[in-house]
C-alpha cells in the first residue's frame, strides 16, 4: 500500500461514517419530498434484509431522536410531546420522536418521510408502545416480530436443540408473514434473489463488526468504543444489508488492522481501559467522554456496541442457500444476543473484563430506558463479586438534559479515577 494511502486510512471510518449518515438523511429527505412511505424500524432486529428487497427507505427513530439530543435541541421536542400529554417519565426517544411528528416530521437534519408500515421485535417493549403511537397517527400496519430470547441465565437454547428449533420455526413463520405483508403494501412480488443479496451484504457487515470489536483488544485500543463506536453503529444499523454498509465495514476492518499492526491508538493517552455499560449520555456526548479521557480513561468496549447493533457483534453468517430459514436462525440468535447483553450483562462483562483487560467498568443507567437500566445495579454487584473490578455507577439520561448533572458526573468520575490510581499504586507496592 502506498505511504500516502496508508496515512489516509487512519480516521477513514469516521469520515466515511459521517458521509454515509448525511447520505442517509438525504435519502430520507428525498423520500419525504416524493411522499414515499418508509418502513419505521428499530436497531434491535430491523429486518432490513427483507425490507430492502421491497425498496423501503428505512427510518430508525432511535437514531433520529438521539440526533436531536446530540444537536442540543432535544428539549424542544420533549416539551412538545409533554405538552401533548406524555409523561416526563417515559422514554425520551419516544417523546422526541413524537415531537418530530407533531412538527410534521421536520428534523434538524432534514425532513423525514411518513411511515407506510412499522416493523419491530420484542427486544424492547417500548418499541411496541411506540409503534402503537404511529399506528394511531398514520393508520399503518404494525408488525411485531416476536423473538423468544433466553429464558434463564446460563441456559440459552443451543442451536440444533429441540427448544431452539421450535423458537426458530416460530420466527420463520412470522418472517413469511412479514414478506406477505410487504407484498401487500408495495404491490411488489418478493424476490428471493434480492434477499440473498441483502443477506450477503449483511454477512459482510456482521463479520466486519465482530472483527472490529475483536481488534479493539489491542493495546492501545484502536477506537473509542463510546464516540467512534457510535458512528460505526450508525452505519451498522442504517445501512444494514446494503452495498454501502458492506464496503464500509470492509474498509473499517482494513483501517483497524492497519492501526493494530502499527500500534496506532486513539487520541487518548491510554492509562485505564474501560468498558461503558448502558446508553450514551447524548445531551453531553463529547463532554461525557472527556470526563474520562482527561484522566487517560479509554473506552475500549461497550455493551451498547453489542445490543444496539442488534447482536451483530456475534458475526453471524447467513446461509444464502436457504435464505428464509437462515434469516430466522440469524434473527433469533442475534436479537437474543442483544437482549442477553441488556439483561445478563454481568456475564458479558465478566468475559469482557478478562478479554479486554479492563481496569474499570462505567455503568450509565438512564431514566428513559428501563430495558437497559433495570438490571444494572444488581448486575454490577454480581460483576464486582466475580471480577473485583472497580466500577462507577452514574445515573442520568440519554435525551433529557433535566436529569443530566454534568458537575455531579464530573465529581464522581474524578473520584473514581483517584480510586483507580490509588489501587494501582497499592498493587505496585505489593508487587
Amino acid at each position: 500500500m502506498p505511504e500516502d494511502k496508508k496515512v489516509d486510512i487512519v480516521g477513514r471510518g469516521n469520515v466515511e461514517g459521517a458521509n454515509l449518515f448525511r447520505d442517509w438523511f438525504a435519502e430520507l429527505g428525498e423520500a419525504a419530498r416524493n411522499n414515499q412511505g418508509a418502513a419505521y424500524v428499530f436497531v434491535m432486529g430491523s429486518m432490513a434484509e427483507i425490507l430492502k428487497v421491497f425498496d423501503f427507505p428505512l427510518v430508525l427513530p432511535e437514531i433520529t431522536s438521539l440526533q436531536t439530543a446530540v444537536r442540543r435541541v432535544a428539549d424542544e421536542y420533549l416539551t412538545i410531546a409533554e405538552d401533548y400529554g406524555y409523561s416526563p417519565d417515559i422514554c425520551g426517544y419516544v417523546k422526541a420522536d413524537i415531537g418530530i411528528h407533531l412538527r410534521e416530521r421536520k428534523h434538524p437534519m432534514g425532513a423525514i418521510p411518513k411511515p407506510a408500515l412499522t416493523v419491530l421485535t420484542n427486544a424492547c417493549n417500548t418499541y411496541v408502545k411506540w409503534a402503537e403511537i404511529w399506528e394511531r397517527m398514520y393508520n399503518i400496519p404494525v408488525f411485531v416480530l416476536d423473538v423468544p430470547a433466553t429464558r434463564q441465565a446460563g441456559k440459552q437454547f443451543l442451536v440444533g436443540s429441540s427448544d431452539f428449533t421450535r423458537d426458530c420455526k416460530y420466527v420463520e413463520a412470522q418472517i413469511r408473514e412479514l414478506i406477505a405483508l410487504c407484498e401487500n403494501i408495495t404491490g411488489k412480488k418478493f424476490d428471493i434473489d434480492r434477499l440473498r443479496e441483502t443477506m450477503a451484504y449483511a454477512n459482510d457487515m456482521n463479520i466486519g463488526w465482530a472483527r472490529v470489536l475483536e481488534l479493539n483488544k489491542s493495546r492501545p485500543s484502536l477506537f473509542n468504543a463510546l464516540t467512534d463506536g457510535t458512528v460505526y453503529l450508525g452505519v451498522s444499523n442504517n445501512f444494514r444489508g446494503t452495498k454501502e454498509g458492506s464496503a464500509f465495514f470492509k474498509n473499517l476492518v482494513e483501517e483497524m488492522e492497519y492501526k493494530a499492526e502499527h500500534g496506532i491508538g486513539t487520541q487518548t493517552d491510554e492509562k485505564y481501559r474501560l468498558a461503558f455499560v448502558g446508553v450514551p449520555c447524548y445531551p453531553i456526548f463529547r463532554r461525557f467522554n472527556e470526563m474520562f479521557a482527561e484522566w487517560g480513561g479509554a473506552f475500549v468496549h461497550s455493551t451498547y456496541l453489542h445490543f444496539a447493533s442488534g447482536g451483530a457483534n456475534l458475526g453471524f453468517e447467513y446461509d444464502v442457500n436457504r435464505p428464509i430459514e437462515s434469516l430466522a436462525e440469524g434473527t433469533l440468535i442475534s436479537v437474543r444476543e442483544a437482549m442477553d447483553n441488556m439483561f445478563h450483562q454481568d456475564r458479558v462483562l465478566i468475559d469482557m473484563v478478562r478479554d479486554y483487560e479492563l481496569d474499570g467498568v462505567i455503568y450509565h443507567p438512564i431514566k428513559s430506558c428501563r430495558t437497559v437500566s433495570t438490571g444494572l445495579a444488581d448486575g454490577r454487584r454480581a460483576m464486582m463479586a466475580a471480577t473485583d473490578t472497580p466500577s462507577l455507577f452514574i445515573e442520568s439520561d440519554m435525551m433529557d438534559k433535566r436529569v443530566v448533572s454534568e458537575a455531579q458526573m464530573k465529581n464522581r468520575a474524578d473520584a473514581f479515577f483517584e480510586g483507580l490510581a490509588s489501587r494501582r499504586l497499592t498493587a505496585a507496592k505489593t508487587a
Binding site: G85, D89, D146, S373, R381
Partner: protein, 388 residues
C-alpha cells in the same frame, strides 16, 4: 381438599369475610403460603400480569401471584437504581427478606422492567428464575402453536421441581377448577356492574385478590358462599356516578386508595388484577389442554397495555368497556414510572375526548399513604358530573 390455607372467613358475616380478606391481602408475611410450605408444599411465584396457573395447579405446586406488597425495601433497594416502578422492588423484597420462599420464579415480557426480573432474581436465588415468553405477536397464525410449546416447556420445568409428571387428566381437572373460578369472578363483576351499591370495588377487589395466594378450590368455595350473601345485602342505592377504573393491571393501588375511590363513585368495571380474569370464557376441556389454554390466552382474553394485539386496540377496548358497563366516566390511572401505563394514558384520554366522555387522570404508587389531595379532586370531578 384436606389442607385449608385460609379458613378464617368461614362462618362469618359478609362484612366479616371481607374484613378477613382485607387482612390477608395486607399481610406481607403471606401466612397462607407459609402454611402451604409447612405442610410440605412447593411454591411457584409468578410476576404480573398473567400466568397460566392451571399448569402449576396440575403439578401440585401453589401458584403465588407476586404483585408487590406494602413493605419497606430494606434489602431490595440496593439491587435497583432510580426511575423504576415500586412493584418490582417490593416483590424482590418479599423474597430477599424471606417473607415468601419460592421454588421457582417466573416473569413475563410485559414491560422492560419485568423482563429484567428473571436475570435479577436469578442472580440472587438458587432456585430457577425464568421468563415465560408470552407472545407479543398475538396476530401470527403461529402464535398459538408456539405458546402451546412454551407452556409445555414451563410444565417440564415445574415437573422437575415437584418430581411429579403432569397428566392430561390432571391438566383438564385444573382447567375445570380455574374455569369455575373465572366464572365466579365474572359473576362477582356482573353484580358490581348491575348493582354496584351491593358490592363496592374495594370489596370486590379483596375478595378477588386472595385467590392469588390460596388454593383455587378454596377460593371457589369462598366465592360461592359470598355471592348469595352479596345478592341478599340490604343496601340502598346512592346517588353516585358510574365509572370505569383503568390502570390497575400490574402494580396495585393501595387498598385505602381503592376504598377512597369507592366512596366517591360506583366503579362498575376495572382492570384491577386483570390477570386473574384474563381469560373471558371457559377453556375447552376437549382435546389438547395446553393448546386450549394457549389459544384462550390469545383468542378469548381481555386487553391490557402490556399485550399487543391489533384486533384489540386499547382505546377501542376501553370505550367498549365503558359502553358495556353503562359507565358515565373513567378514572385513568398509571403506576408511577410505568412506561406502558403512562403511554396508554395518552391514547385513552384522546379517545375519551373525542367521544366527550369525562375522565379523571392520576398516578399512584403502591406505597402511597396519603390521598387527601386526590380524594378532593375526585370528589370535585364526580360532583361536576352529577350536578353539572
Amino acid at each position: 381438599m384436606t389442607l385449608r390455607l385460609f379458613d378464617k372467613w368461614q362462618d362469618q358475616s359478609l362484612d366479616g369475610i371481607i374484613a378477613e380478606c382485607r387482612e390477608l391481602v395486607e399481610d406481607a408475611d403471606f401466612p397462607t403460603v407459609k402454611r402451604w410450605r409447612e405442610a410440605g408444599g412447593k411454591v411457584l411465584g409468578h410476576f404480573q400480569v398473567y400466568f397460566p396457573e392451571e399448569i402449576a395447579h396440575a403439578a401440585g405446586i401453589l401458584p403465588l401471584k407476586m404483585r408487590g406488597a406494602p413493605v419497606e425495601c430494606m434489602h431490595s433497594d440496593s439491587h435497583f437504581g432510580s426511575y423504576l416502578c415500586s412493584i418490582i422492588k417490593t416483590s424482590l423484597e418479599l423474597a430477599l427478606s424471606k417473607k415468601v420462599e419460592l421454588d421457582l420464579f417466573v416473569t413475563h415480557p410485559i414491560c422492560d422492567a419485568a423482563r429484567n426480573l428473571a436475570a435479577v432474581w436469578g442472580r440472587n436465588f438458587e432456585y430457577p428464575c425464568q421468563i415465560l415468553y408470552l407472545p407479543q405477536n398475538a396476530n401470527s397464525a403461529a402464535s398459538s402453536t408456539y405458546l402451546r410449546e412454551e407452556y409445555k416447556r414451563v410444565q417440564a420445568d415445574i415437573e422437575a421441581i415437584t418430581g411429579k409428571k403432569v397428566t392430561e387428566a390432571a391438566l383438564n381437572n385444573s382447567l375445570a377448577v380455574f374455569n369455575e373460578n373465572r366464572r365466579l369472578l365474572r359473576q362477582l363483576y356482573e353484580l358490581k356492574r348491575k348493582q354496584p351499591w351491593l358490592l363496592s370495588v374495594y370489596e370486590a377487589y379483596v375478595l378477588m385478590n386472595v385467590g392469588g395466594m390460596i388454593q383455587r378450590e378454596e377460593h371457589n368455595e369462598m366465592l360461592k358462599a359470598v355471592i348469595p350473601l352479596i345478592e341478599a345485602r340490604p343496601v340502598k342505592r346512592h346517588d353516585k356516578i358510574r365509572v370505569v377504573f383503568e390502570g390497575g393491571f400490574c402494580e396495585q393501588p393501595p387498598l385505602d386508595l381503592i376504598r377512597a375511590i369507592s366512596q366517591s363513585c360506583y366503579v362498575v368495571d376495572d382492570d384491577l388484577l386483570i390477570g386473574l380474569r384474563w381469560i373471558l370464557e371457559d377453556v375447552s376441556l376437549e382435546g389438547d389442554p395446553l393448546f386450549n389454554l394457549a389459544e384462550a390466552y390469545l383468542e378469548k382474553s381481555s386487553y391490557s397495555p402490556v399485550q399487543h394485539d391489533s384486533r384489540k386496540p386499547k382505546e377501542k377496548m376501553l370505550l367498549q368497556r365503558i359502553a358495556d358497563s353503562d359507565a358515565e366516566a373513567a378514572i385513568i390511572t398509571a403506576a408511577k414510572m410505568c412506561e406502558p401505563g403512562l403511554e396508554e394514558q395518552v391514547a385513552y384520554t384522546k379517545a375519551l375526548d373525542k367521544k366527550g366522555i369525562p375522565y379523571f387522570v392520576s398516578e399512584f404508587e403502591e406505597s402511597m399513604t396519603s390521598f387527601d389531595h386526590m380524594e378532593i379532586q375526585l370528589e370535585t370531578f364526580t360532583e361536576n358530573i352529577l350536578f353539572g
